[in-house]
Symmetry: C2
Subunit: 300 residues, 2 copies
């Protein structure tokens, strides 16, 4: 049995730690904080950074909402017809859109839900490079694998596949990026307690800066052309397509009257669409497209 | 009984007429045509214009697809369990994103569907100004009203309300633009034959240039600032949100393996998202937002 407070405290301190780390790496931009309340119970702490040296736009959001269990959760929560029950959902969500096209977009989410008999953690970290550099992809996946391995040697493979399947833009037949790990509804099971799940999610959350800051440092001073920038804007267009057409968190938020400005912080500052853009033969862009598919074993 | 050919011929000639009219108005841009075939039957004629004097990006698409009736239509088409039946869907769809923020975005769709016992026409024209000028809005709605009135004095009111309800961005609590007319599943009914429906849809299609070209001419030479351009990009962001989250045609196309590049021609060349953009007091932007709501009687 974990207290609501201990989970919220962890998520809030994670948000602090990540914002501090990103501000330090950026060197110029600062997070602006908005506190908001939800009428039916709870609220959040939205933090947005824009026009930094490294980060063009990003958000690192904490929220904790509670109240009467919403209808769509009642069945899964095993509630009887007129049984009253509370739900509690809390977590941290972040998306970073960098200035330099050679730095990848990153997304992380860690979350907890309790409703009736239901109690689980979910989350993941995934990377969306505008240009895929194999050594960066390998570094990122190796990092996630070593983090997962401290808990269970089967986790990385399982959660990596889950990310491949989830972050897929069906109408483009491409993955959103090079994936990462994704896991959902991790409840207590067999010898794994809910405390173990919480520990795992903390390990993932705490690994974020170690996954991303090296990729910032390695790529922040790379020069780029107008054509590289234009390609970045097209890739951001695909990011918008994924988030608005497929992403469950976004859909769920918008359809349940969540705080729109906090949910849509994931959208890029600028994005482009061009009819039938086809990269030149043997270009870096063509290579990137060829690597946007499921099942690539990046970890070495 | 209308022949498949006569409907297709009309839609193709409408596409020709509109492309010619828009090219002439633009004076610089030309439509590029792609012919495509659908494996299961039919195909289309996608025409895209970009980097014109007036039009930054636009598409005017014709398609005609047919084959075995898809499952999701069988029940509505009144088919028995193993009854074989063909379907045929054809139409013209267009979206124009102008360069100058003072010229509105426009969208039109006219379509025909036949499957089993089902046979209907649908469509509509609606306007999305980045800046709402009341005289333009009134001109546009007066034009649509007079066009509708030639068929039935009740149509404009009914189809205008339908557009208000359809082109609504729920999570923003705003309409996409100032609406127009929208109608769906207009089948033969009482004294109205399917030929009458076809006549009505032709009247709407033929009214397009008369609705839009005057708005181009009136606004094309207006000067605008960088701030106006930025506002245009934010409004285009909302257009993307509507099309990817709510638009039935887009969703339907993407989820049924339509030709992605033709479907997503509706997306703007460039769009922006900014956290918590709130227009200044008494600004044109604030006035525009205040007019993005249902139930405004623009026609005089």
């Amino acid at each position: 049995m974990i207290s609501k407070e201990s989970i919220e405290n962890y998520f809030q301190s994670l948000q602090d730690e990540i914002c501090n780390g990103l501000e330090k790496a950026d060197g110029k931009g600062n997070f602006q904080e908005d506190l908001w309340k939800r009428e039916a119970g709870g609220g959040g702490r939205t933090r947005i950074i824009s026009n930094g040296d490294v980060i063009e736009k990003g958000g690192v959001n904490f929220s904790s909402v509670f109240g009467p269990c919403p209808d769509f959760l009642r069945k899964e929560a095993g509630l009887a017809e007129n049984e009253e029950a509370e739900f509690h959902a809390t977590g941290v969500s972040l998306v970073i859109h960098p200035v330099n096209p050679m730095i990848p977009i990153i997304h992380m989410n860690v979350r907890y839900l309790k409703a009736g008999n239901l109690e689980w953690f979910g989350g993941g970290i995934d990377l969306t490079p505008h240009y895929i550099f194999e050594e960066d992809a390998t570094f990122f996946h190796n990092h996630l694998k070593s983090v997962c391995d401290t808990h269970n040697p089967a986790y990385y493979t399982e959660f990596k596949k889950w990310a491949d399947d989830y972050f897929f833009i069906k109408h483009r037949n491409e993955t959103r990026g090079i994936g990462g790990i994704f896991f959902d509804r991790l409840a207590a099971k067999d010898s794994i307690s809910i405390e173990d799940r919480f520990n795992f999610v903390q390990t993932i959350g705490n690994s974020f800066l170690g996954a991303y800051l090296p990729l910032i440092e390695k790529n922040r001073n790379k020069t780029y052309t107008e054509a590289n920038r234009q390609w970045q804007l097209l890739r951001r267009g695909r990011y918008v397509e994924f988030n608005l057409v497929y992403d469950r968190g976004t859909k769920f938020g918008l359809l349940t009257n969540g705080r729109t400005e906090s949910i849509l912080m994931s959208l890029p500052p600028t994005a482009c669409w061009e009819y039938m853009n086809i990269p030149g033969k043997d270009s870096l862009e063509e290579k990137t497209l060829s690597l946007l598919r499921k099942g690539i074993d990046w970890a070495k």
